[in-house]
Symmetry: D2
Amino acid sequence: MVIKSGDSVLVMSPDEKTYLVTVADGKRMGTHLGDIDLGKAIGLEYGSTIETNLLHTYVLLEPTIEDRMMKVKRFTQIIYPKDAALIVLKTGLGAGMRVIECGSGSGSLTIALANAVAPAGKVYAYDRSEKFMENARKNVENAGFGEFAEFKLREAQEGFDEEGVDAVVLDLPSPWDGIASAARALRGGGRIASLSPTYNQVERCVEVLAEEGFVFLETVEVLVRNIRVSTGKTRPMDRMVSHTGFLTFGRKALKKKSSGN
Amino acid sequence: MVIKSGDSVLVMSPDEKTYLVTVADGKRMGTHLGDIDLGKAIGLEYGSTIETNLLHTYVLLEPTIEDRMMKVKRFTQIIYPKDAALIVLKTGLGAGMRVIECGSGSGSLTIALANAVAPAGKVYAYDRSEKFMENARKNVENAGFGEFAEFKLREAQEGFDEEGVDAVVLDLPSPWDGIASAARALRGGGRIASLSPTYNQVERCVEVLAEEGFVFLETVEVLVRNIRVSTGKTRPMDRMVSHTGFLTFGRKALKKKSSGN
Amino acid sequence: MVIKSGDSVLVMSPDEKTYLVTVADGKRMGTHLGDIDLGKAIGLEYGSTIETNLLHTYVLLEPTIEDRMMKVKRFTQIIYPKDAALIVLKTGLGAGMRVIECGSGSGSLTIALANAVAPAGKVYAYDRSEKFMENARKNVENAGFGEFAEFKLREAQEGFDEEGVDAVVLDLPSPWDGIASAARALRGGGRIASLSPTYNQVERCVEVLAEEGFVFLETVEVLVRNIRVSTGKTRPMDRMVSHTGFLTFGRKALKKKSSGN
Amino acid sequence: MVIKSGDSVLVMSPDEKTYLVTVADGKRMGTHLGDIDLGKAIGLEYGSTIETNLLHTYVLLEPTIEDRMMKVKRFTQIIYPKDAALIVLKTGLGAGMRVIECGSGSGSLTIALANAVAPAGKVYAYDRSEKFMENARKNVENAGFGEFAEFKLREAQEGFDEEGVDAVVLDLPSPWDGIASAARALRGGGRIASLSPTYNQVERCVEVLAEEGFVFLETVEVLVRNIRVSTGKTRPMDRMVSHTGFLTFGRKALKKKSSGN
């Protein structure tokens, strides 16, 4: 794939630092190892190398969803790829589905959700902060997923506009505020996911989920441990992120029973 | 969404055991709490309840990708959802992409990959065992993703038929056997992922990846810890899966340098 | 060191199963690989091998503190060596110290504490169940630490007989019941440790510790992951114990302030 | 216990930073919250508070073994308390035992070993660097354990002077260099422990241990995760130390067989 003007490129330095930039004719990018003429990237394939004016070699990589998520402009704690990946899988998202995200923050999870439901689905991204919402919208548009996300300014407990959605994801300080709204918006069998940093939030969240008729409840935490691989001296890294949040999942059961068997 | 004859349903017992079944008129399913007339599920919405002849209540859930993966008929160790989720995210898969999977085993990862690239992409699933391949094909078809996967009987070192693919996933006892083939099949900037249980495999895999020009190499392990949430007595579960495999990721850089800056 | 009649020996089978037995003349021990004449062990050194009547070779090992702890007769969940080890270190125990253990259960931790304070210190082991207490006493005597432990039948909130002890360890369903008693029994700067499986217990325990003037509070969990080491195929084990309990530590500050500076 | 001139005190600030100091008449200690007249600590009990000249309150704690270990002057990576605690337990150390430590580095483990074998045992601490050895000696003396440790300048492969020791602990870049020496120094049934950061070291170490006749081999890693306990918002800490080293344990079996059964 050939890089065109206006494309996003993940520029990687010799020591594997990465920078997400938009390529344009005449645009220059300063690095600690000299300047890069980004116009020279136009017409090259992803994976190509480019040199700074000081003759250091950088690689022009194609941004993945993870890169997009990690490079958003952030006013809030973002949802980490490790958590977003499991949320997407466990909510069962696929092309064409409709998902509500409540507490979209800086939009990093919105990007992962939009990618999962494209090219025919939609993410309805709610937040109660206009500043956060506008930042998230820009982040999602910059990532190329603007058409798959709709942003709405709203408190969780006021309810959502959509009905019959496939999944709802809550990232709220008080996730229980959004659970009744989620129950109304979800179709039967639809999935809910909630992300919370504390045990106390999880405990109350699970109580309210059960009260609202959600079933198959499960709470997990995801730990990703990096390994330093080097021939003859391979070992786990010294330090790791040991907590981001607990993830709680459930599915909507319908309250009125079937006419029986 | 209404359940139709021929649909897959995840039937959940009162103690939250689940069974993946195909609904058909006149079909009965035996459980430890009595029989269920699956024909009665037709016309109900997902999330509805159904009773056994002994009046125990089961819930009719819609199978998610995770359910599909965990319920495949298996002749091999399957790839766990926790690992599959991160592989999908880190290889940057999205609708319309083309991905090679080498060592498709029982097809559980194939399902996750196919879901990620649907409705316009394709998974090229290679395995050297005909028995495994035929089982994987059936598992993927049963999961409803048959049109997004193409199965091929082949040893990794013989090379792949495709060119310019977006990603390659290796699940091989000797992953290095597939790396040169992967390098040829990938487009510039394309992603590779390899799953191996031992650190010895990882060490050699990373060596060969570097030799073949892959960059941005990263090896991780994913641990998922379940929390037993119960008001007033919430705690992590006593036991967990502490190892499935190490995941190694990289990206294809192009060997010939750009004409410079 | 030569094995004498009456000594405890850890007998290890060819597949590394271990059995803690007392050696005596004429005593036989049945195994799945034949019988061992334990009288033949008398006069051998620890580390020697012995054969069954079916000519399988067993090793005669000296029991360590860990072996003693794991082989107690148990009516309760025992404290694991991983947790006991950190408790001993963080309470700063050494030869000659005096420590109260409240909730001594089956006595496995009592053994570790007694070993730490021997040959001149003492463990005061409280429990409210006479059955548990008598079992713990026998376990500790069998382990050879009877003279370093004194067992008392008592509820935690009734207070302890001792004053000025160096450390108190609580293993109680309601650890807060023992905290005021511990504060009275401890000398200034003395350490407290509490073991609880749920975060709810930990939260309340820490509140009460702070109210009672304990400082330098710290709560941790210890995870021990086993590695399967085998040349060319070394990897973490598939499954692990992922939770036993949270450990909370603190130190007694004196309430009345010094006359100042 | 009353603080005397020359005693070590762990001085804790209002925000729970700690400083290990020696108390003496007329000695002052500067802090970010004012000066402390350490002479005023003489005659106070541990656990007492003391004020700076700016009227901030500090607590005078008694240093534990862990404090001693963490506060050594270090030229090398020290062994963490989490690892030291398990080493002490699994080598079965107790009062009166004799243990060889090879690769004593800054002496932090030496302190834990000396505490475990006091008041009648001995640690024989070998290192090949005179600078490290002299620093370790001072650290161990300052911690009050000088009489329980003997320091020797020696390469591991040159052998140890002692025979019939209860345990050997290796902390060497090439632990296999010390295994034959350890086998000669240990009595039958004696324990060996080795600490290494890489998988590769562990693999070769285990090979050589097996060759030298060690049995009951076990390799583990210890992870300690801190919990931030706060009423209503309790959660694991964000970051943790995810690797220090792998710990390998074994026991010495005697090579010549018993005369049989």
